[in-house]
């Protein structure tokens, strides 16, 4: 995190420390450059994307959060990146170019939250049927489903 700030302070919008975990909130236009720095920097090497998940903060704005859980196998480090997206424009650049494993994760977030990933090779639903309407993990989607 310190390194990320030294490298380019504009990539770090906010830093949250909680229970020994570091969360870095990254503005969405800087996501790809920050991720490329974190994977390439020899003292960090976050080459493994452990998880990519979405959170819906409805009715707050910015409504959506996308969390990237990074892991450095060599250095035994974990880091969470967070991108906040407004409900009017829930689009973020895809990280499949950096980590191919993000492909299915991003499809799942799209399926469950309706967040669009720009540059994703194959963005379609993954868990729900193709013709499904709505995005089930949104907070305004009832737990029992629409009847």
């Amino acid at each position: 995190m310190q390194k990320l700030k030294e490298w380019n302070a504009s990539t770090v919008a906010q830093v949250i420390e909680f229970r020994g975990e570091t969360t870095v909130v990254v503005p969405r236009q800087h996501l790809i450059s920050a991720v490329e720095f974190l994977t390439g920097e020899p003292s960090l090497r976050f080459s493994f994307l452990s998880d990519l998940s979405g959170v819906d903060r409805f009715p707050l704005e910015p409504r959506f959060e996308v969390n990237y859980h990074l892991l450095s196998i060599e250095k035994r480090l974990r880091l969470r990146l967070k991108v906040k997206l407004s409900s009017a424009d829930p689009v973020v650049h895809s990280v499949t170019g950096v980590w191919p494993t993000a492909n299915w994760h991003e499809r799942e977030v799209y399926d469950m939250f309706g967040v669009q990933f720009e540059g994703h090779p194959d963005l379609r639903r993954i868990l729900m049927p193709d013709e499904w309407e709505g995005h089930p993990l949104r907070k305004d989607y009832p737990t029992e489903g629409y009847r």
Partner: protein, 410 residues
């Protein structure tokens, strides 16, 4: 180099094959009802003869919305749902979720409960690997290993039933410790099973390790390099069979795993055979851990942390003190409210890196729960393993990734 002369130089092989391949291309729908897909996995295969040109896994047939349901339950109630994610390793899921919530609240549980958790999750790992070995072997035509593997697994299931009252959906680990005091004499039962296991594993190895058919079906099949494995986010035995010595139990120890002496089993083969060797070696390592845990568990002591208002008081306290009764009532009717925040806790489940993300908004129900399930991520690498191989090898590749569809679809 000679000058290119179209009259004498034969055309490149690929160019000669290409038009015919396009004509003969066939699309085959494998699953969702297919015995070797271990549930309801559907794979759309594009074939040229018997060679796989493209494989596209289609998932979601077992999607039950567990993450959404968790948001409508209190933190304690959600434990019962975690059993049902990976129904071959319910205790590992219980552990991952409980540790995440304990981290969120910020409590440490008694050592005795930690050791019991380690012992039971390692038994879960053995049981899960035995099911994998049996079903993988039956996919490839070795019937007897399946019967033997399930015989031993049943003994482990009996221990779970004795300890928690349930064979599969145990929900035995609770936030702050365990559900109940383990019954008297349970360690003797564990000892009986554990003492008989190494001999049985020798039997399986006698049947398979040098078996020529087994080697022909698995060696050199479904190769995954270390770089590919990391790029695809593959974890667990698959990653270790590709030569990466990464195990969450060693890298980020939880639940006192740093006090146990065991080795990370790796292999550089990266093929189905290497994964078989790694998993069998892991069963032996787990036996080592269970033996150590049996020696470490104190006979007496608390099995739950004492945190008033969050962890339920003991039965005795509940019946004899007014505070105990109030806390008991409040915890089971309203639940408890952790501080606002978010945590991500990772454990090594039998299939790999199981991550649990829990976000709290300060209410008694989790705001968001996300399970990073290893099967979901590992299955994504199936096209890389299977393309260019025969249909029969696809079966070997699916078997060797050890997917549980409940975990893939959640």
């Amino acid at each position: 180099m000679d000058k290119f002369d179209p009259a004498t130089t034969p055309p490149p092989v690929a160019a000669a094959v290409e038009p015919a391949a396009a004509e003969n291309k066939m699309v085959l729908n494998m699953g969702p009802q297919h015995p070797s897909t271990h549930g309801v996995l559907r794979v759309i295969l594009e074939l040229d003869g018997e060679t796989v040109l493209k494989a596209d896994p289609v998932i979601g047939y077992l999607h039950t919305g567990i993450e959404k349901s968790c948001e409508a339950k209190t933190y304690s109630q959600a434990i019962t749902l975690t059993d049902r994610i990976d129904y071959l390793a319910p205790l590992s899921n219980n552990l991952g979720y409980c540790l995440a919530v304990e981290k969120l609240i910020g409590i440490e549980i008694p050592k005795r409960a930690q050791y019991i958790r380690v012992l039971l999750t390692e038994l879960t790992r053995i049981a899960s690997h035995l099911v994998w070995l049996g079903t993988h072997a039956i996919d490839l035509g070795a019937m007897s290993v399946f019967l033997y593997g399930f015989r031993e697994r049943e003994e482990i299931m009996k221990i779970f039933e004795y300890v928690s009252g349930q064979r599969m959906m145990t929900s035995y680990f609770r936030i702050g410790g365990l559900a109940l005091e383990p019954p008297p004499g349970w360690l003797d039962r564990v000892k009986r099973v554990i003492d008989s296991l190494p001999g049985h594993i020798d039997e399986y190895e006698d049947l398979l390790t040098q078996n020529r058919i087994w080697i022909a079906r698995t060696k050199g099949i479904g190769i995954l390099s270390a770089e590919d494995a990391i790029a695809m986010g593959v974890s667990g035995p698959l990653l270790r069979a590709s030569g990466v010595a990464y195990d969450v139990r060693k890298a980020f120890p939880y639940s006192s795993y740093d006090e146990f002496d065991f080795d990370i089993q790796t292999n550089t083969g990266g093929d189905c055979y290497a994964r078989y060797l790694v998993r069998v070696a892991e069963i032996r390592e787990s036996i080592k851990i269970v033996r150590q845990a049996m020696g470490k568990i104190p006979r007496e002591g608390p099995f739950r942390a004492a945190v008033p208002g969050i962890i339920p008081p003991s039965r005795e306290e509940m019946k004899t003190s007014i505070e105990g009764l109030i806390y008991h009532f409040k915890i089971f009717t309203e639940g408890f409210a952790p501080p606002v925040g978010e945590v991500y806790h990772v454990i090594e489940s039998p299939r790999g890196e199981l991550g649990v993300y829990v976000a709290s908004d300060g209410s008694p129900k989790p705001y968001r729960v996300k399970f990073r399930t290893p099967s979901f991520v590992n299955l994504q690498s199936l096209p890389r393993l299977a393309v260019g191989r025969l249909i029969a090898d696809v079966v070997a590749c699916i078997g060797t990734t050890d997917i549980v569809l409940g975990e893939v679809d959640r």
